[in-house]
């Protein structure tokens, strides 16, 4: 096994083009598990941990760009205003994992259980991929094509992810069998866009990829008292929202949980997220 250690993005892209079989690694929290267990023996590692350009984040013109190399620990510290993203970051593993695991890893691995991914979907984020041929942007739902499958070309690296900042409350929640260090049985992110009067709901671990729940979103957008934050939503509307969100899930039975439980969890988390969001919209009394 070889190790390729680029020190700049240019070098990294050149190495990526020249060695498409080399597996990119930043935090190593996914890849090293497979390597340690003897299940992965890539011909080479492409170590991206020294590429400074991948570790930056920028805010400009209402858009945020987060570099692929940003760790969840840094995200929790430096992007504190994005509450769902911070909640997702804090739910990742342990402090030891958060200091190494990167958002680029979540994106590149493309597991439907990747904790940041429902948030990116709810943000309608765009994945930025780069190669020696140039940079391209692709909407998250076009980029993720299946479980652990993306449109990333063999000569491409994930450079980062960007989204247009939505003004409004949101939340992220994930369920596992114990109180820490769990791979999500089901996860949900809800984000309100007050300006567009839109609701975005994204589900994790309940389909081959992250999915949105468009019917639930449309229903909530119609039901939310946009002009009157103090007003309450009737329980029947909250329940219907939950039901529609659960209907958007396509879960399977696996060693972590059953499809029935996953659907049930989505329904409950959707209801709670909506009520939290409405509560968070109310100015403090």
């Amino acid at each position: 096994m070889d190790a390729l250690l680029p020190r700049s993005l240019e070098e990294a892209l050149a190495l990526r083009a020249a060695h498409p079989d080399a597996v990119p690694v930043a935090g190593g929290t996914d890849l090293m598990v497979a390597v340690n267990f003897g299940r992965a023996r890539p011909p080479a590692l492409l170590d991206l941990s020294r590429v400074a350009e991948l570790k930056s984040c920028r805010r400009e013109n209402g858009t945020v760009f987060v570099g692929a190399g940003m760790t969840f620990a840094r995200i929790a510290r430096e992007l504190a205003e994005f509450r769902p993203l911070v909640e997702a970051a804090r739910s990742v593993g342990s402090p030891q994992i958060r200091s190494r695991a990167t958002i680029g890893g979540n994106i590149g691995t493309a597991s439907p259980a990747g904790d940041a991914l429902p948030v990116l979907a709810a943000y309608d984020a765009t994945v930025v991929a780069g190669s020696q041929r140039g940079t391209r942007r692709e909407a998250w739902n076009a980029f993720f094509t299946g479980p652990k499958q993306t449109t990333l070309a063999p000569d491409e690296l994930v450079l980062g992810v960007e989204w247009h900042v939505a003004h409004g409350p949101g939340s992220f929640a994930k369920v596992g069998t114990r109180n820490a260090m769990v791979i999500a049985i089901a996860g949900l992110c809800l984000q309100l866009d007050e300006d567009a009067r839109a609701v975005r709901v994204a589900l994790g671990s309940v389909a081959p990829t992250i999915v949105r729940a468009p019917e639930a979103e449309a229903f909530a957008a119609g039901a939310i008292p946009w002009d009157d934050p103090q007003s309450e939503l009737p329980q029947s509307a909250v329940s219907e929202f939950g039901r529609l969100a659960a209907a958007a899930a396509k879960p399977i039975d696996d060693v972590r949980g059953s499809a029935a439980y996953r659907r049930h969890v989505v329904e409950v988390l959707a209801r709670r997220a909506l009520l939290w969001t409405l509560a968070d919209r109310r100015p403090a009394a």
């Binding site: 190593g28 598990v33 170590d47 593993g93």
Partner: protein, 154 residues
């Protein structure tokens, strides 16, 4: 592949297999067996160490990433006959049984107290959530962190 790394203040030039982890480098190449291998997948924290000041699971850090980095392990704590306050607190409260999780637990606790000198129970639990212990039930580990915090404050 040859790498240069600083571990516990000493510079080393080591030949590593690129598929090896930092944990394997520490244990097999440098003879620092204080960091333990209990799960090889970052679930248990018994391999906890610092890389460039950040708390990591060394089993998940590719050894090649230690090149040019400053690494600190449990062996860097205390010195000579002296124990770090956290190490002494673990002994004082009975927070050590089989001891396999202890080095990683101590490192994580030191890391916490370096960033947060007076943590609440909840903060300690969140900070140590990645360190599994099978012997103690964690109660005395919580006691030890509080005791160490008090010691370090005085």
């Amino acid at each position: 592949m040859k790498i240069h790394t600083t571990v516990n203040g000493l510079e080393h030039e080591v030949d590593v297999w690129p598929g090896a982890s930092l944990l394997a480098l520490l244990r097999d190449e440098l003879g620092l067996s204080g960091s333990k291998n209990a799960c090889e997948q970052g679930e248990c924290g018994s391999c906890s160490a610092w890389v460039d000041g950040e708390l990591v699971c060394s089993c998940l850090v590719p050894a090649v990433q230690a090149d040019g980095a400053v690494v600190r392990t449990v062996e860097s704590l205390g010195g000579g006959d002296r124990l770090h306050a956290v190490q002494d607190a673990f002994l004082a409260t009975g927070a050590v049984q089989c001891g396999f999780c202890t080095p990683g637990m101590v490192v994580a606790a030191v890391d916490l107290l370096e960033r947060n000198p007076e943590p609440s129970d909840e903060t300690i639990r969140e900070a140590l959530a990645g360190n599994l212990c099978r012997c103690t039930g964690y109660q005395k580990i919580l006691d030890a962190v509080h005791l160490a915090a008090a010691e370090l404050a005085s």
